[in-house]
Symmetry: C2
Subunit: 223 residues, 2 copies
DNA sequence: ATAAAGCACATTGTATACAATAATATTATC
DNA sequence: GATAATATTATTGTATACAATGTGCTTTAT
């Protein structure tokens, strides 16, 4: 009987519920806790060395976050993702990323432009390593700069939450080296349009970017 | 010392945490619990006749929902909403409502078209009552039909969550009878464009609709 | 041998008890 | 009288205890 090794993510003086929340969240995103897997309170409490109270509160949060599904009188399980869910998520994400880019065109500062340029270079370097996790992280950073440049905190939070849900699938997408060159080109275009303050073209570029992701992820699911 | 009368919203066999969640949520949305007001666990537990456990779990959910803010080692308070927050929320909502309308144009069924027409008539009737709550409810129903017609569950959930945050302010907007005729006209236009499957114009119409709300709400805050 | 009844167990839901901490009031000392 | 030290209290954070309920297994009766 092999147990996925949940590593407690300890941050001194963060309430245990948040520690547990982060731990379970990571476990789900990394795939250590698989969709459909039951999350039993006592079991988790023992494994993480805490009582049921913080576990329960963390589960409440994960539930609202959409990463966990409650089954009445049965308990929690890791949310299953259907093809329809994924379509819904990507549809919304496309729209919000598009908004973010267009806001960024208006609101980006000079410093942020330089930052964007730097993260884009980092991304190109990351691609040469051929390590999926490294590339994924560089990609996240690039998009993060754009998001933050939108100066809309709510938007940042919502897009991150959506991105979270497709993280596992995007990782597969990024592993496929056939996509690398296109990713770089798309990033460059997006960056240039933002730099020029050309919202119209920047929107189109990011929408294409997301569409390509979507096609790829959906074709994965069809296997 | 006058206490706002939180009415427990009892739904047989719903866990207490959800009952408490709904109760507090309504209290906040209706303004019985005011922004900045502290939510103390024992206090609430006594008033609602339950223990601290369900109260705490409800607070965790309200926190993720954004209706409550946690202050470290101090507890929860009803979320304060700043002008900037409001701008952020409306900016995102505008974009998502626009998406919903355009999806609805593609995916709406005949039944839903009739439903939309009916809720629009209901809205016009509600306006004649001059009762803000009645009008607000009819307005919510109208928008709900459009949202559901988008056939995107995630989108429905996200827009509802955003709408929640501006509920109180929109109520003020709706109270002002000078806006009524324009609201009706906007609704009619939106409905017609959706009926005709004209996504382009439908988007513009709903964006104008939200923009008008935004202007009005922001001018309220400036008083 | 099979089906039904009942019992034991596992698990969630709720309440309470205990610990830690921060804010406030009180007292003692200068 | 003012200030610092201390005690008290209010409140959150965490653990445990108790209640209710559903599930699966065992036992018994037909």
């Amino acid at each position: 009987m092999e147990e996925p090794k949940l590593q407690l993510i300890i941050d001194e003086y963060l309430p245990l519920r948040d520690v547990v929340f982060n731990t379970l969240r990571q476990g789900i995103l990394k795939g250590e806790l698989k969709p459909g897997e039951r999350l039993m309170e006592i079991h988790l409490a023992n494994r993480l060395g805490v009582s049921r109270t913080p576990i329960r509160e963390a589960i409440r949060m994960l539930e609202l976050e959409g990463l966990v599904t409650m089954i009445p009188r049965k308990g929690a399980e890791v949310a299953r993702i259907s093809k329809l869910d994924l379509r819904d998520v990507l549809e919304v994400r496309r729209s919000l990323d598009s908004l973010a880019v267009s806001l960024a065109c208006e609101r980006i500062t000079e410093e942020e432009k330089q930052m964007l340029s730097k993260t884009e270079e980092d991304f190109e370097k990351a691609v040469t390593t051929r390590d999926a996790t490294t590339i994924a992280e560089a990609d996240v950073k690039f998009h993060d700069v754009i998001l933050k440049a939108s100066k809309n905190g709510r938007l940042v939070q919502m897009v991150n939450n959506l991105a979270e849900r497709v993280y596992r699938y995007r990782l597969e997408y990024i592993k496929d080296s056939r996509n690398h060159q296109r990713l770089i080109e798309e990033h460059r275009k997006i960056m240039e349009y933002i730099g020029a303050g050309d919202a119209e073209n920047a929107r189109n570029a990011i929408e294409t970017h997301i569409d390509n992701q979507e096609k790829n992820i959906i074709s994965q699911l069809e296997l």
